[in-house]
């Protein structure tokens, strides 16, 4: 097995379909891809499956990869699409977050009922708005990174976030909560 020392060599060999290069890239990026997907789907088991799915898509698309570009950015975009597909197909019940252990509650002034209703309103968001809202409002990722991951402009991300906020306000008001 040849030693893949330079990342650019790895990328070039990967684009030609080399499995060793693919393995090297997988091992280098699996944690990052998993972590990104977990932020979107908030379910460790689903995030693991989607990491495999993402790299499967990456493997299939190797010929379309340009070695001059960033593999990480490309992988993140494919991961975001895989997570989005998952959110589109996931049922509402399984979509409820909560598989991660809860950290200490940061604001005791907000009741459990309000938190539950907010989570329920969040689950009703359309997937595209949900991804934008999760990454921008909850995870506080830079808009530039979100736009790269979603393959849309920064302005379009801001529009999605605004629409998500408007949707959430309506949902909360419907449930009797005045934000």
């Amino acid at each position: 097995m040849p030693v893949l020392e330079q990342p650019s060599d790895v990328l070039r060999q990967f684009s030609h379909g080399d499995l060793d290069a693919f393995e090297a890239l997988f091992r280098r990026h699996q944690c990052e891809v998993y972590s990104w997907i977990l932020r979107i789907v908030r379910d460790p088991a689903a995030a693991e499956d989607l990491t495999i799915e993402t790299f499967w898509r990456i493997h299939r698309a190797h010929a379309r990869f340009d070695p001059a570009r960033s593999f990480g950015v490309w992988a993140r975009r494919i991961a975001t699409n895989a997570a989005l597909d998952h959110l589109k197909t996931a049922r509402l019940e399984t979509d409820l977050p909560g598989n991660l252990p809860s950290p200490p509650l940061p604001d005791p002034g907000i009741s459990e009922e309000i938190r539950r209703k907010t989570a329920r309103a969040f689950c009703r968001l359309p997937p595209k708005l949900k991804v934008a809202a999760t990454l921008a409002l909850i995870e506080e990722q830079p808009y530039k990174e979100i736009s790269e991951a979603l393959g849309i402009s920064t302005g379009a991300v801001k529009v999605r976030v605004f629409r998500a906020l408007r949707f959430l306000r309506k949902e909360l008001q419907r449930q009797g909560i005045e934000p």
Partner: protein, 76 residues
Amino acid sequence: MNEHDQERIKQLLKNSLPPISGRMDAELRRDLWPAMLKRLEAAPAGVPWFDWALLAALAAYLAFFPGAIPVLLYHL
């Protein structure tokens, strides 16, 4: 919707769905390469759907215009 509303909803969201970034329990706990290998081995060498569509279109064309068969053979 004013900025106050936006901030309030953001605060509610962060309280209801705490951020995952930076949490210790959000790290990948196992190497996924063995599972990836299984997926690669299990995957059939599939033919893309548009290749099948192209083949079907060609077969239909040749069925309706058999005179085109020698022309096609000549060009192959």
